[in-house]
């Protein structure tokens, strides 16, 4: 009698071992021969873990030699608590379209390399889903993390429910439920999670897609600016342009939002969306006032309460972690004074501000109220000059190549963050400007080549914080440009 083979891919802490215990207990209760084993990893709570089980589907067939290792092309049921782990089982050849039922959660828990990337480093979910669809015989896919949350249980019980619901094992639901009961741990929530998983597997439950809502800025009194934008810009760019208007009105004032529209006036319709997006972000640069605005907004406290899962009657105290230094203070001073302060030795002092006390909140509110002063600060003057220079480059590039103009706009993505992060991003951006954009605009590099070079340099700048990759890319660009120039000269 051929055993039914089950491979489980999980993350440390997902409860894969307990899941196996449940399956083993349930199979035993039916008099079925079953064997489980695992590569559990170390005691720590990260890392991928795998479990392998074999269940002989008929009673009394004891004596079948059961394997301890999965074999490629010989897995009947593959269970994964996370989408990348499903992908890993597919990648390793264990999931095959001729026999494997893949039961997997669609949520992603990013691996460390994906999380620590300086931009968006996550693996292409489209590829994972395509592999899931094409490389398995049948699929039961839903967000089990969300189902676990909704049911108040743990993901392994949801997965067990999905396995029961798949009908791939000759084990009745009641046997699985008994196994959970006899396990004796968090029985009620695990049973609820089991029921959720089974319901989803049988199509009895519909899952609301977890939204990642984008939050629009609230701003009043900008209706005329929005009307003006609607007259001036293509429809496809309006969501961004309108958000820019609202953002900047809230960030500074109506006049500042109008300046945003003025600045966009000369931009080619084909790239206005990208330019508007970056322009709005650049114009709403991060300074102490903006941080204070964000931290004293009416919705923020509710957001924090929801995020930390405070119940309605539970008081929540919030402590902000600030560490202002000369740069942050200089950003608030008039240019002359700021330059003097910046010339002084660098200093920082940690400030742990309790923003849920009246005095703490009031201080933040006071800072937020300083936005009228912003246009008189050194930082404002600096930022506007940089923005104008950047817009100038875009305008100049438009005449040569829209691709180059678009890439120059996109390069602004590098300028983000605070303190050293901001300085590093700005430094990278300046290197790209000096070594690619400026030569290109001066006609020393073909525009098409420059567009590619700027794009490559942007990706390289986000590859490592030390700037090694960017250095290599810029050297390569210079070399390539040199060759081109020589070739031109030869012609």
């Amino acid at each position: 009698m051929k055993p039914i083979t089950i491979l489980v891919g999980a993350l440390g802490g997902d409860g894969g071992g307990v899941l196996c215990d449940w399956i083993v207990a349930a199979a035993h209760s039916q008099g079925l021969d079953v064997q489980a084993t695992q590569i559990p990893g170390v005691a720590q709570r990260t890392g991928a873990t795998t479990y392998y089980l074999e269940v002989v589907p008929s009673r009394g067939s004891h004596g079948t030699v059961l394997a301890l290792n999965p074999a490629i092309g010989e897995v009947d049921v593959a269970l994964a608590t996370e989408l990348l782990e499903a992908g890993r089982m597919i990648f390793n050849g264990f999931v095959t379209p001729d026999r494997t039922t893949l039961i997997a959660s669609t949520h992603r828990v990013l691996a460390i390399s994906e999380r620590s990337a300086m931009g968006d480093g996550s693996f292409d979910v489209g590829r994972l889903l395509r592999a899931v669809k094409e490389r398995s015989q049948a699929q039961i896919l839903f967000d089990m993390d969300q189902a676990a949350e909704e049911s108040g249980g743990v993901i392994n019980a949801v997965l067990l429910g999905a396995l029961a619901g798949s009908g791939r094992l000759p084990i009745p639901d009641a046997a699985f439920e008994t196994a959970i009961r006899e396990g004796g741990k968090a029985v009620d929530t695990n049973l609820a999670a089991f029921a959720f998983g089974r319901g989803h597997a049988r199509g009895e439950l519909e899952q609301a897609v977890r939204e990642h809502r984008k939050r629009q800025t609230a701003a009043q009194g900008v209706e005329d600016l929005i009307a003006r934008a609607r007259r001036s810009f293509p429809a496809a760019s309006l969501d961004v342009v309108e958000e820019g208007i609202r953002r900047l009105a809230a960030y500074q004032d109506r006049r500042y939002a109008a300046l945003f529209l003025d600045r966009l006036a000369g931009i080619d319709a084909a790239i206005v969306r990208e330019v508007a997006r970056h322009l709005a972000v650049r114009m709403s640069y991060e300074d102490v006032i903006r941080v204070a605005q964000a931290k004293t907004s009416r919705e923020r406290l509710e957001r924090v309460r929801a995020e930390v899962r405070a119940k309605p009657h539970e008081p929540v105290g919030i402590t902000e972690h600030f560490k202002p230094g000369n740069e942050e203070i200089a950003a608030m001073l008039p240019p002359k004074l700021a330059r003097w302060l910046l010339a002084q030795p660098k200093f920082h002092f940690p400030m742990h501000l309790r923003s849920t006390t009246i005095w703490g909140f009031a201080r933040l509110r006071l800072l937020a109220g300083l936005r009228w002063w912003r246009p008189y600060t050194w930082r404002y003057v600096e930022e506007q000059a940089q923005i104008e220079a950047w817009l100038g480059q875009i305008a100049a590039a438009q005449a040569l190549s829209l691709d180059l103009a678009r890439e120059i706009a996109e390069a602004a993505r590098l300028i983000k963050g605070y303190g050293d992060t901001h300085k590093r991003g700005l430094g990278n951006y300046r290197r790209i400007t000096d070594e690619i954009i400026a030569p290109a605009l001066a006609g020393r590099m073909p525009a098409r080549q420059a567009a590619d070079a700027v794009a490559n340099a942007r990706v390289a700048a986000l590859a490592d914080p030390e700037g090694d990759a960017l250095g290599r890319t810029l050297t390569a660009v210079a070399a390539a440009a040199g060759i081109t120039t020589m070739r031109h000269a030869a012609e």
């Binding site: 170390v42 990648f91 379209p97 460390i112 968006d120 991060e286 964000a294 930390v308 539970e314 919030i318």
Partner: protein, 721 residues
């Protein structure tokens, strides 16, 4: 408004979705009490534990390490049972001390069992092992080694077989089925006594964790034990001392008496198994431990039951007569032996050659010399074997299916477009060791790269992303010694990192004493988390409470002072700023000699296991509990992820930016957060950004809490933007 951000002093209730409730050994302890005829169900390593009690062991010892930690861990929780039987249990401080325990069986008719992870543990035990094997034993001595080989292994890939061969210790490698494992365990004691030789039994990772069942027997109380003490020590017998000239006699005894006796025992008791097959001209000799993979491989090729098999549940000594009988009259025999060198295959070659048996032996020529024999590897090897030795068997069907599966995998690779992101192990949420590496990262920003000598333990995860810190690992507790010849040639001082587990295991003598003695000018960071955490939080001498009387045995700082270490700082790890300052000082002080930083912070896994039930009880009792956790303001975060690169905390994740104008995902603290405060500390120490906040959620708030909160909320609501 400045205050000290010591987060962990507050009780917290982590509300984590992704947590596997810690295993309690209650079920396992019950299984150990099963009596005659009752059905045992459980994992392989627990079956071994039950089998040693059924065999009447008088003492058990060991040093933790996957995959055999469970043996001692379960016994630690079975003190009642051990007391009833009179079994003495030692949780040894290293494998050498465990191996030396077996010395009891040299002079006394007591059965003993010790356990550790191999190959590394056997290396540490080697001295005692040699000195044990030489005089030999009169009480059965069993060493259960976790053969940490292949997928999931965490140590150097070497074979325990080498030790068995060189020390003349017998080695069992049982077929991974519980009845066989149990039978081998019981027979191991008999074999040991019949041959006056210690016996090792190796269990691979999957075999330790394999589930199964067997019919239990009653536990046996040993004849000599803590409960039945001896009035007098053994009569002095110089022949039992591993000193010359006894050692010359021992060497002869090993080969002339003990090995032949072992060979006779193996045959008489049928320890190796013979499985018949139709094709008498072919045969396969296989290590017991990988029989299942082989059998399934043969089934895959539809030749299951066709080829006779000799299963070696004992891989040393081999029984030449048995091998010769099996091979005689066969055209070809395949030896399936995992790992290098191919000791068994070489012995079989020699055995047949000496007897002029001309059976062609296949082995490492059709199977790879190195690496785990997985289902796929073995299938490839079997196909090759049959192609070369028996091409009259038509394997075209199975071969096609196998090739199709491989082609399918290639297609999967194409769709996925390249390797998937790896998921290496890393520090747990709230781990007290992570801040030390955050501080070292920050130190390197100031002084440049530093030579870092790493060690075995959780802290070795710092060699992986996102820290990527560490230049070498030389073994458990060896990091300080490993910097011995590096430090003198470096302009900057070297930093050795060692856990408290490693310190007591070996680092104290091999590292600290040697460095002091040689006036080494180095920096040592000792991670004092209170347990050997990587192996499941076993107790060590500086653990807050000993398992016997609740008293701490030895204090690391006091020990170092006694040894003459003058530059010694004990720093709470979570305080990254202080840690950075202390590291800076250690690296730059004019004081020569060893500089030790004891980085103190309890293992968060162990801590959570302790405080979680306490907090739950407090909450139920209606007591005021403050739960602390951290968060990121998604509006303030700009998505650079510096914080993640400096921390790597599993609860510090990314999520899509809520900002319609930004595309880079922003940092996010998920509900796994235990409120250790590192992210805030790092944001401070590295001057990252003002996104982090700490939230204190007051559960079962008092009327005063609520009053203050209501008042504040009113005013804040009126002031808000």
């Amino acid at each position: 408004m400045l205050y000290s951000p010591v987060m962990l002093d507050q009780p917290q209730v982590p509300v984590t979705q992704r947590t596997n409730p810690e295993r309690s050994f209650k079920e396992e302890v019950r299984a150990l009490r099963l009596g005659n005829g009752e059905m045992f169900r459980g994992e392989g390593i627990l079956a071994v534990t039950k089998a040693i009690l059924q065999s009447g062991v008088a003492y058990v010892g060991g040093y933790q390490g996957a995959p055999v930690s469970h043996l001692v861990d379960v016994l630690v929780e079975s003190q009642d049972l051990l007391d009833e039987l009179g079994v003495h249990l030692e949780t040894c401080t290293n494998e050498a001390s465990a191996a030396a325990m077996l010395g009891a069986s040299i002079n006394y008719p007591m059965r003993g069992c010790v356990t550790w992870k191999s190959i590394v543990g056997t290396n540490v035990a080697a001295d005692a092992l040699s000195n044990l094997a030489s005089p030999g034993v009169i009480g059965g001595a069993l060493i259960v080694v976790g053969e940490d080989y292949g997928e999931g292994a965490s140590v150097i890939q070497e074979r325990t077989q080498a030790y068995a061969l060189k020390s003349s210790v017998w080695l069992m490698d049982p077929r991974p089925s519980l009845p066989t494992i149990v039978q081998c365990t019981e027979k191991a004691f008999e074999l040991s006594e019949a041959t006056n030789t210690p016996v090792m039994m190796e269990l691979r990772i999957r075999a330790c964790h394999v589930t199964g069942e067997f019919v239990a027997k009653d536990n046996k109380a040993p004849a000599v034990s803590r409960n039945r003490r001896l009035a007098n020590p053994a009569v002095h017998d110089y022949g039992r001392i591993s000193h010359p000239p006894s050692t010359y006699a021992h060497e002869k005894l090993k080969v002339e008496v003990r090995q032949p006796a072992a060979e006779r025992f193996i045959v008489a008791n049928g320890l190796n198994e013979f499985f018949p097959g139709e094709r008498s001209d072919l045969g396969i000799i296989v290590q017991g431990g990988i029989t299942n993979v082989l059998v399934r491989g043969l089934d895959r090729l539809e030749v299951g039951g066709k080829v006779p098999m000799l299963v070696l549940n004992v891989t040393h000594p081999l029984v030449p007569g048995q091998i010769a009988d099996f091979c005689k009259g066969k055209r070809a025999v395949l030896v399936v032996e995992e790992g290098a060198p191919d000791y068994i295959e070489q012995s079989i070659h020699a055995c047949l050659r000496k007897r002029d048996i001309d059976t062609r032996i296949y082995g490492k020529d059709v199977l790879p010399m190195a690496g785990e024999y997985t289902a796929e590897v073995l299938t490839e090897g079997l196909l090759e074997f049959f192609a070369r030795a028996a091409n009259d068997i038509d394997l075209s069907g199975p071969r096609e299916r196998f090739e199709a599966a491989k082609a399918g995998r290639a297609e999967a690779h194409r769709i996925l477009g390249g390797p998937l992101p790896l998921r290496p192990p890393g520090f747990c949420v709230g781990c007290p060791e992570r801040p030390v590496f955050s501080a070292i990262k920050l130190l390197e920003r100031e002084v440049g790269k530093v030579h870092i000598s790493s060690d075995i333990g959780c802290h070795s995860f710092a060699t992986l992303a996102p820290f990527n810190l560490g230049n070498s690992i030389l073994g458990f507790g060896m990091s300080l010694a490993a910097a011995g010849a590096v430090a003198p040639v470096m302009e900057k001082r070297t930093i050795s990192v060692m856990g408290d587990g490693g310190f007591w295991h070996n680092g104290l003598l091999s590292g600290v004493a040697s460095s002091m003695f040689n006036r080494g000018d180095r920096v040592l960071v000792i991670m004092q988390n209170g347990y050997t955490s990587a192996t499941g939080a076993q107790f060590i001498p500086n653990t807050a409470g000993n398992r016997r009387d609740g008293q701490t045995t030895s204090d690391i700082a006091a020990t170092l002072k006694a040894m003459g270490v003058s530059w010694l700082r004990t720093i709470r790890t979570y305080n990254v700023g202080t840690m950075l300052k202390t590291l800076r000082e250690a690296m730059s002080t004019d004081e020569k000699g060893l500089k030790v930083i004891v980085a103190d912070g309890e293992c968060q896994l162990a801590r959570q296991r302790r405080v979680r039930p306490q907090i739950a009880a407090d909450l139920r009792a209606g007591k005021r509990v403050v739960r602390t956790r951290f968060g990121v303001d998604d509006e303030v975060c700009t998505g650079d992820h510096s914080c993640i690169r400096l921390s790597g905390c599993p609860s510090l994740v990314v999520k899509p930016s809520p900002d319609p104008l930004r595309t880079d995902p922003v940092a996010h603290v998920n509900n796994g957060c235990v409120g250790c405060g590192l992210c805030g500390e790092v944001a401070d120490a590295a001057v990252l950004c003002p996104s982090f906040y700490k939230a204190d959620i007051v559960q079962n708030a008092t009327w005063w809490d609520r009053l203050v909160w209501k008042l504040r909320s009113k005013v804040i609501g009126a002031l808000a933007c």
